[in-house]
């Protein structure tokens, strides 16, 4: 089976049906592009390792592209935000004057940019930093809740709409509100922003950077499946942009001449972006002592990574040859042993899977990233 088919089949088994798989065509030499379905909103972009080097640039360009795109589409997020800002400024200027309201608009725009940088669009209308807030008053006797929708004006929050909710009945964020006098346009504008951000949020991207020292079809299929499956599903977070790397290595000497014996300088440089705390997957082939010697065989999986295991020695040697111990990705990793039931192959292999720094502060619970500077 060709390399592209191996990857295609494996990834399509792992990801949900509505996921678009994009191969970074120009960069991955041995893989031809898959069919791309534009109706799908979740994306996995697979690239060769060297393209990890400019990942923060790609991601931040993606995050901020709306501000630079020459478009007048009304559903454009940036235009929705600007509309909210202009309407709220107009309301505010009646109270504090045009000049102060304009100054506030600039500050407020920066705040929204910070929220987007740190939490994505979701954070603009949801969560602790959101520009709106829903306050609930529980009237237990009437079995209903009174909710007020507050908008963050400077200094205090103003009620722009109210609604009554019966116990056990749920409503969408902008559903069933009685809008306060003078706030109709602002409310509609917030609603448009909400719809636009819902659409935008569907466009999540996971970047996967791949490197293998041998052709993919020489590895056990179940091993590759296991590594990819873990990488995509177990490490899934709720961020708009996620990135990770999968490195596949063979260790058996007879496959040695075929295997790449070093990273290119750009590949090695790219590995600096890989985070610590990944997983080392070990997959000994059927000729290894952990299968051929009875005691070791019985002690599996522990015997696989015991120091006197020939396979583990090969793994360490290969890591050393490739200068992997110099990298932070080799800190705090966990080990997983892969033993296939039906496709145990002769070639021994190991893989490293880990997340990468994306250039956003999505992992921070509180901070809006570099925008504070």
């Amino acid at each position: 089976m060709s390399e592209r088919n191996i990857l295609r089949e494996i990834i399509q088994q792992i990801v949900p049906d509505d996921t678009k798989i994009i191969f970074d065509f120009e960069t991955i030499e041995t893989i031809e592009p898959l069919m791309v379905d534009d109706s799908k909103n979740r994306n996995i972009v697979i690239s060769s390792l060297e393209h990890l080097i400019d990942l923060p640039k790609r991601i931040r360009r993606n995050l901020y592209k709306g501000q630079f795109r020459k478009t007048t589409e009304s559903s454009n997020i940036d235009s929705c935000i600007r509309e909210v800002l202009s309407l709220s400024r107009d309301i505010l200027s009646k109270e504090i004057g045009k000049e102060r309201a304009s100054n506030w608009r600039e500050i407020f725009y920066s705040r929204i940019r910070q929220i987007i940088a740190a939490e994505g669009l979701y954070g603009v209308l949801n969560g602790n930093s959101a520009i709106i807030e829903i306050e609930q008053i529980d009237h237990k006797k009437q079995f209903e809740l009174n909710e007020t929708l507050l908008f963050s004006f400077p200094g205090d929050k103003k009620i722009i709409a109210t609604r009554k909710m019966r116990y056990g009945v749920s409503a969408l964020l902008f559903e069933n509100w009685d809008i306060m006098v003078g706030y109709d346009e602002l409310f509609s504008s917030l609603e448009r922003l909400h719809i636009a951000s819902e659409v935008e949020q569907l466009e999540r991207k996971r970047y996967l950077f791949l490197w293998a020292d041998s052709p993919l079809n020489t590895f056990s299929e179940s091993f590759i499946f296991s590594v990819f499956s873990d990488h995509i599903n177990v490490n899934r977070k709720n961020n708009k942009f996620e990135a990770g790397v999968i490195l596949l290595f063979s260790t058996t000497p007879r496959n040695g001449p075929l295997a790449k014996s070093e990273f290119t300088s750009k590949d090695f440089l790219s590995l600096q972006r890989v985070n610590s705390g990944g997983t080392l997957y070990l997959a000994p082939g059927f000729e290894e002592d952990v299968f051929t010697k009875n005691i070791k065989r019985l002690n599996r999986p522990n015997s696989v990574f015991e120091l006197d295991s020939n396979f583990y020695k090969d793994v360490e040697q290969k890591m050393s040859e490739l200068e992997l111990p110099k990298l932070r990705m080799m800190k705090e990793y966990s080990i997983s042993v892969h033993e296939p039931i039906h496709d145990l192959v002769e070639m021994s292999a190991f893989a490293i899977s880990s997340g990468c720094w994306t250039g956003t502060w999505a992992e921070s619970l509180e901070i809006d990233g570099e925008q504070v500077m």
Binding site: I53, D54, P56, K57, I59, R60, R61, N62, L63, Y64, K65, F68, R69, K70, T71, S265, K266, F268, L269, Q272, R273, R328, W357, G359, W361, E363, S364, L365, E366, I367, D368, G369, E370, V372, M373
Partner: protein, 404 residues
């Protein structure tokens, strides 16, 4: 070197000059220009300008375009023009034809090396994103609020950059999430540091290090989690050595308890309450790989970022035996002050987004996260050294380096 951030505009005249037949004597143009220069009034100036325009007008076939301001001249004719006409035109200073209104970035060389060519920059740094060809070609989109607009970028060698912005970190730290750089201590600043430093500017005048009798020996301010976290950081930073006995570890606890008690004091506490309640993720909001209570995290960064306060604390210790151990600890902890700043200089800088231009042979020596800059791309070149193309984020780096 100026690099346009968009395609060439129409209306820019081809700047090729044309030979002019200058009359039998060969000095007509000179005479007309002299008339223009010696004009005593607006009327005389306009007349002289009209004469020059008529004299230098090209044939209709060889013309680039029509004059945009025929009304200004004495004779209101539709006149064909080209680069030669416009070069000597009396209205040239106010004419809009040929004025390039595109946004540009200007690359300033901060060092003594020959810059790569303009073509190199256009092909490798300022190229169109294939996935979003309608976007600006500015590579700093998403990193600089002025991306896509005219501004200065700076080119500097890695060696000179290291000299200007040295690494004063106490241990091996991952800089990915750092947001700024302190030029006095040479340390990166994380998001939480930034918030703390803002408060610090307001409270620095009221911090008191005098110890009361009741402050003498106490480590009550540290939780079990704090102690574990503090030990981890202390060993990693070299504040504690493997050979240290329990007494030294105990004194370290006391030292940090004291700083926390200062942070909780009546004078300072109210300024910090909100900050200490924030969730601080290790390596993300703070530089260290472990995190304790908000007060401990802030106390550690306070000591690391403001070494002069540690000295002030030390000066208030008397000479009994415990104090000697504390002084020994303080001497280990005390961070180096790498430089003194002139009042014109900026102490806290943002971490600059940077593109590396370097020969492939030097790729393995590049650090893509540095204390004062974050590398967003690496471009292979035939230069003989590692160059950094920096967006100063509104800071005049040339001026900053001169003021040092």
């Amino acid at each position: 070197m100026k690099i346009p951030l968009s395609e060439t505009q129409s209306g820019v005249i081809d700047p090729i000059l044309r030979p002019v037949f200058d009359g039998p004597q060969g000095w007509k143009t000179s005479l007309l220009i002299t008339n223009l220069l010696v004009a005593n009034s607006n009327v005389e100036y306009r007349m002289a300008a009209t004469d020059i325009r008529e004299h230098l007008a090209p044939d209709q076939e060889s013309s680039d375009s029509l004059c945009l301001h025929p009304d200004w001249f004495e004779k209101n004719l539709e006149l064909y023009i080209d680069a030669t006409t416009c070069m000597f035109c009396g209205y040239r200073k106010n004419c809009t034809l040929g004025v390039d209104e595109r946004e540009f970035v200007e690359i300033i060389n901060l060092d003594q090396f020959s810059m790569p060519s303009m073509d190199f920059f256009l092909e490798n740094c300022f190229n169109v994103d294939k996935l979003a060809p309608e976007d600006s070609i500015d590579p700093f989109i998403g990193f600089s609020s002025r991306a896509g607009e005219s501004r200065k970028l700076y080119l500097i060698s890695q060696d000179e950059f290291n000299r200007q912005f040295p690494d004063g970190s106490q241990s091996a730290i991952e800089f990915d999430a750092a947001v700024g750089y302190d030029r006095i201590t040479g340390q990166s600043i994380w998001s939480m540091d930034q918030l703390f430093l803002e408060v610090y500017e307001r409270i620095s005048g009221i911090i008191k290090f005098e110890l009361n009798d009741s402050d003498r020996i106490t480590e009550d301010e540290l939780t079990m989690l704090d102690r574990k976290c503090l030990l981890q950081i202390a060993y990693s930073n070299g504040w504690l050595l493997n050979s240290d006995n329990d007494e030294i570890i105990n004194q370290l606890h006391i030292l940090f308890s004291r700083f926390i008690s200062i942070l909780k004091s009546k004078q300072i506490g109210p300024f910090l309450t909100k900050l200490t309640q924030i969730n601080m993720n290790p390596r993300m909001d703070t530089p260290h790989s472990s995190s304790g209570s908000g007060y401990l995290n802030i106390a550690i960064r306070w000591i690391e970022l403001k070494p002069s306060d540690l000295q002030a604390y030390c000066n208030n210790l008397d000479n009994n035996e415990d104090r000697e151990i504390q002084k020994k600890l303080v001497s280990r902890i005390k961070n180096k002050i790498l430089r003194k700043m002139s009042s014109d200089s900026i102490q806290y800088l943002p971490r600059f987004p940077t593109i590396v231009i370097a020969p492939e042979s030097s790729f393995r020596s590049i650090k893509i996260e540095q204390p004062a800059c974050r590398i967003i791309d690496v471009i292979e070149s035939h230069t003989d050294q590692i160059l950094l193309l920096i967006d100063g984020l509104g800071i005049d780096l040339l001026g900053e380096m001169k003021s040092e």
